[in-house]
Amino acid sequence: MPQTEQLVPDRQHLVRYLLDLLPEEEAERLDLASITDDQIASHLRVIECDLVDDYVLGSLTGETLQQFEARYLTSTRRRDNVKMAARFLDAVERAAAQNEAPGAGVPGARVLLSAAAALVIAAGGAFMFRSAEPSLPESTVQTLPAQPRTDESPEREAVGRTPVPGPVGTQNQAAARGSVARRDPGVAALVLWPQTRSAGPLPTLLIPAGRASVVLQLTLESTPFAQYRAGLKNPADNEIVWRSGWLIPTTSGSRTSVRIVVPTVKMRPQHYSIELSGRSPDSTSEVVESYTFRVGSR
């Protein structure tokens, strides 16, 4: 198919075009190219896809984030793109977690994955932990009762726990949990409850070696806001070491939560707190929940 002879504009230029930030004349030139030039049309789609994904993952910042929300999200079709991207990335994350987990591809691997993950963390108070599978039915989520911690060793944490009878606590599943937990399940995800509901020891997250990011699911008691933003705080100096973009809560069963993907480079073995802020339509925001957890050493 015919191509224009001009070079494909760079990514940043096309992002500015998508966010309606280019002068009219240049925007019209790209309007034409977006329809007549196969290469630019394809490139534009890929960049738009990445832009939307970055928004969903909370990676957009500054002017780009501002313009994305002020201009890009004004169209129903584009808002639908964002919704679709959120679900798509969720599915990709789950598929990636399954691929990484031992026993991936085995029937019922999702349940094993979830249960194994529940055993990897040091059990604290009334918190829940599951694999990167936020959409599993409620019955596959393992709730662990409060138990005092006696040993910090991850290996002991993983294999030393007696399988807890619960929704998935059959003999076979318990055995499966034990065997999978002895190996590194390669998943890192934690469901956190607001501090007011967490009694007992802190939930602990063990980050598998080589893992670039972890998924934290922040459960909400109520959802007065449409969008939320999480800040990962080091309680030692109250410094926010990482902040998510504005995120939309999702509901699975009776639980509504905000899911954040935190880069592991931002975490060290220590305590952390997360402040969750809600944003109202007039763009004012306020802290609505806080969560605490510990990153364990491996």
Binding site: H43, L57, R77, D90, A212, S213, V261, R279
Partner: protein, 207 residues
């Protein structure tokens, strides 16, 4: 409904006219309708970027007009066909802007407000059951992909920031293609997945 009537002033295409349009768009290379779908998608995006509420209708109106010209004149001198599509689309866009100005609604400002709140709400109004359906459908569609396609998009779209770029670079090197070509390949698979999801059922169609 009023809006639909004002855009679609002419009846839709006959089979013969549609066939002629496809042939003209293909420009000598039989694409099996792919070229039509591709150009239509570009037109929809164009109208949508200009914040037109009925981007799909405007894209169809563009094709309707081109089809009528083909019917009346037998051929169109402007080449390539995509360039002519843009010329017509630009007229359709300007007319739609004009139509909007003529029909300024009293509650226009409130409409804008609703649009803004909708942008903030996004997925807030869906029921939990609907969401479960959608997620199940997405998982099912992902499983139905050929394994090499599934592996490629999982590898391509996972992670964030630097890890993602490095992973993509490694993937492109393994496949012996450029990063741009990899991006387009991944997008095509993702697009196929979206089409699969749209076919899942009434709940999923609203994704």
């Amino acid at each position: 409904m009023q809006r639909q009537r004002s855009i679609r002033e002419e009846p839709t295409l006959t089979d013969v006219a549609f066939g002629r349009l496809l042939e003209w768009l293909d420009d000598g290379i039989d694409s099996g309708g792919e070229r039509y779908l591709d150009i239509r998608r570009r037109l929809v995006s164009y109208f949508d970027r200009r914040n037109r509420l009925s981007a799909e209708d405007l894209a169809d109106e563009t094709f309707n007009r081109i089809s009528r010209t083909l019917e009346q004149s037998g051929s169109i001198a402007v080449r390539p066909p995509a360039r002519y599509c843009y010329v017509v689309a630009r007229f359709v866009l300007l007319e739609d802007f004009r139509r909007d100005r003529k029909h300024v609604h009293l509650d226009e400002s409130r409409t804008a407000d609703r649009s803004r709140s909708a942008s903030l709400a996004l997925v807030g109004s869906d029921s939990a059951i609907t969401k479960e359906h959608r997620l199940e459908c997405l998982d099912r569609c992902l499983r139905q992909l050929p394994s090499e396609h599934r592996d490629l998009i999982v590898e391509y779209y996972r992670d964030t920031h630097r890890q993602k770029i490095e992973r993509r670079r490694g993937l492109a090197a393994r496949l012996g293609i450029t990063m741009n070509a990899l991006g387009i390949r991944a997008w095509r698979i993702r697009d196929a997945l979206t089409t699969c999801v749209k076919g899942c059922g009434p709940e999923a169609r609203r994704m």
